[in-house]
């Protein structure tokens, strides 16, 4: 690891940072981060332009063919980085446009609140123009008249940086009427939220943007048919949109080649790692990099602890075991193992952590953040928390674990209005599958005895 990047554990004031120096990052292999500065300061317009910024918009607008952008995005198969992995090009090809359909909205999902995820913050705080450029391209492809960056309220620094960058871009003619003499007009506003994880769900986000309570909407209609104020609306994650400029400039073949033969998914990914590791952080690596390589970059576990389990991409993904570290971190492989790639930022669980306590913490989060619309989520999750609390105290009753199985199954895909409940079910179901004996230990023990001897690694 480079000497020039200070270890986060030494500082108190938090700063987002990438653990790769400029020398390690190249334009042809690190499309998301090669322009970032080692000093962590934002790349403003002059520097962005010096580093080939807005070349992609220049090219796309002079060619003037929105459908060609969609075709390239489809061929590149840029899969959504908000966690679901849906092809951005395919989504864009389904946006209603043409004829007498009104121009709609391009919405950047910058609500980043998935526990264990800190990647969009870096992109927004240090490289705002890449996101703006990606949004202009997305707007041109989808015939969007206006863009919103739906930013979580706590990202104060990102709001400051983005607003300044938007002003810079507007002053230089990259936003506003007749962008770069093309006749295309588009502008962006930063819309800041006021808390609540559910705002990140794309239809809840649209309700929140409209100034309503953030309950999800039923689908169909999909946002591309009828989104904000009933207009066709495209919602994409920050990292997804940041991939667009390089794909349009360099082509789908180049993008596919970035991941080599690691995986069928192309491109690079902002991977990360947090939890009790020596060097938690973020790295831009080829899609399909293994969990092992990321854990190595993170310096392994602190204080000679052993790895017990890990989450590949946030609280709503499924637990994996040490043996899964050798697998490529891509959407399909993680799916096959009963998990999801999610946001691609690993959360590491050490051997001295009780899975029951960790699950209690996770489900407290999901229960608190439920929007309250569907019964299994609104009523089931607090019940899950209660059961886990009593197991944690060694006060569980026979049948409690089967009840957890049932409550989790009731939250499964398709049974609720949105993917929040399935997201709460997946870590619970995988924890119960891999560490069932640890939950069983919590039944009928004298108070306090349940988790005195953590389960050794491998004995699962």
């Amino acid at each position: 690891m480079s000497e020039s990047i200070p270890n986060q554990r030494r500082s108190v004031g938090y700063r987002s940072r990438l653990l790769q120096t400029e020398a390690e990052r190249r334009a042809d292999t690190h499309p998301l981060t090669w322009r970032l500065r080692d000093d962590g300061e934002a790349v403003w317009l002059d520097e962005y332009l010096r580093k080939d910024g807005y070349q992609s918009v220049r090219k796309a607008l002079s060619e003037g063919d929105p459908q060609a952008i969609i075709a390239t995005m489809k061929e590149a198969n840029v899969r959504g980085r908000g966690g679901a992995g849906f092809s951005a090009g395919l989504k864009w090809s389904l946006t209603l446009q043409g004829g007498d359909i009104p121009r709609g909205y391009l919405i950047c999902n910058a609500d980043e609140m998935e526990p264990g995820t800190f990647k969009d913050r870096l992109l927004m705080e240090q490289q705002p123009h890449l996101l703006i450029e990606g949004m202009i391209l997305g707007a041109f492809a989808n015939n969007s008249r206006y863009g919103y960056i739906f930013l979580r309220g706590e990202y104060v620094e990102a709001a400051r940086v983005l607003n300044r960058a938007i002003d810079e871009a507007r002053d230089a003619g990259w936003l506003g009427p007749d962008i770069n003499g093309s006749g295309f007009d588009f502008d962006i506003a930063v819309h800041t939220g006021a808390g609540r994880y559910i705002c990140g769900e794309e239809t809840a986000l649209i309700n929140s943007l409209e100034g309503k309570r953030a309950n999800p909407r039923g689908k169909p209609p999909f946002p591309g048919q009828s989104g904000a104020w009933g207009k066709p609306s495209v919602v994409n994650n920050v990292e997804t949109l940041c991939n667009v400029p390089a794909v349009i400039l360099n082509g789908a073949g180049w993008y596919q080649g970035l991941s080599g033969d690691r995986t069928d998914d192309g491109g690079s990914k902002l991977y990360g790692c947090s939890g009790p590791v020596d060097n938690p952080g973020l790295w831009e690596l080829p899609m399909g990099t293994t969990g092992m390589e990321i854990l190595d970059r993170a310096g392994g576990l602190r204080d000679n602890r052993q790895l017990k389990a890990w989450l590949p991409g946030g609280a709503s993904t499924g637990f994996l075991l040490p043996e899964h570290l050798e697998l490529p971190l891509d959407f399909d492989t993680m799916g096959k193992e009963g998990s999801r790639l999610g946001t691609g930022l690993l959360t590491v669980v050490p051997d001295d952590m009780s899975m029951v306590s960790l699950m209690r913490n996770l489900e407290q989060f999901f229960a608190r953040e439920s929007c309250g619309w569907c019964t299994p989520c609104r009523d089931g999750l607090p019940w899950v928390v209660k059961l886990l609390q009593s197991l944690e105290q060694g006060q569980g009753e026979p049948g409690d674990i089967e009840l957890l199985d049932k409550l989790a199954a009731d939250c499964g895909p398709g049974l609720t209005f949105c993917a929040h409940a399935p997201g709460a079910a997946m870590p619970l179901q995988t924890a119960l599958r891999h560490f069932r004996h640890e939950f069983e230990q919590g039944v009928g023990k004298p108070r306090g005895e349940a988790h005195q001897d953590p389960i050794p690694v491998g004995e699962v």
């Binding site: 986060q8 554990r9 500082s11 108190v12 004031g13 938090y14 987002s16 980043e112 609140m113 998935e114 526990p115 264990g116 995820t117 800190f118 969009d120 913050r121 919103y148 979580r152 309220g153 706590e154 990202y155 104060v156 506003a189 819309h191 800041t192 939220g193 006021a194 808390g195 609540r196 994880y197 929140s208 943007l209 409209e210 100034g211 309503k212 309570r213 953030a214 904000a228 104020w229 207009k231 990360g272 790692c273 947090s274 939890g275 009790p276 938690p280 952080g281 973020l282 609280a315 930022l345 959360t347 590491v348 669980v349 952590m353 960790l358 913490n361 996770l362 407290q364 989060f365 953040e369």
Partner: protein
């Protein structure tokens, strides 16, 4: 930064009145949206920036500026966790209680906050200096355990760091 305002300026005879600068700021927000209701959350945040929280009397005032029903504003004001409906201290501490922080010392940090401030979640110190609230993952997990004080994010924070940190917020 907002200028402090005298109470007589903001409480009109018929109850709560928006500060003129806030009303202007809210009207400016409307330009970004197709419908005025979209500026509702920002309007509540503007009120909160001046008063520290959103009193009940502010709801009809905001509704009037936006030209929407007070019910719609109230529904929003009660949904979002960062809109405060009770008075808070001069500084709000948001302590992250999500997974990466939980795995790296959240319990100790939370306990130290409770011990040093003498308050628990949702409470305000007697001198009205601090209010303590839990928050979802702050997106600072590589600096876990993390917390925010007002607009500033800190991490990793240990119990020993707290006294020095809190000193910066008189």
């Amino acid at each position: 930064m907002a200028e402090p305002v005298a109470t007589s300026q903001i409480i009109g005879s018929d109850g709560f009145e928006l500060h003129p600068a806030d009303e202007t700021a809210i009207l400016r927000e409307l330009e970004h949206y197709e419908q005025p209701q979209a500026a509702c959350i920002e309007a509540l945040k503007i009120v909160q920036r001046r008063h520290g929280w959103v009193p009940d009397e502010a709801i009809p005032a905001v509704a009037r500026v936006l030209g929407i029903g007070p019910g719609a504003v109230e529904g929003v004001a009660t949904f979002y966790s960062l809109i405060f409906r009770q008075p808070v201290g001069r500084h709000v501490i948001l302590v992250c209680d999500s997974s990466s922080c939980f795995l790296t010392g959240f319990d100790e940090l939370k306990q130290a906050l409770v011990d040093q401030l003498g308050i628990d979640y949702g409470e305000t110190t007697n001198d009205s200096r601090f209010t303590l609230l839990p928050v979802c993952c702050l997106g600072a997990c590589d600096g876990a355990p993390a917390l925010m004080i007002d607009d500033d994010t800190y991490g990793p924070v240990t119990a020993d760091d707290l006294p020095g940190l809190l000193e910066g917020y008189p």
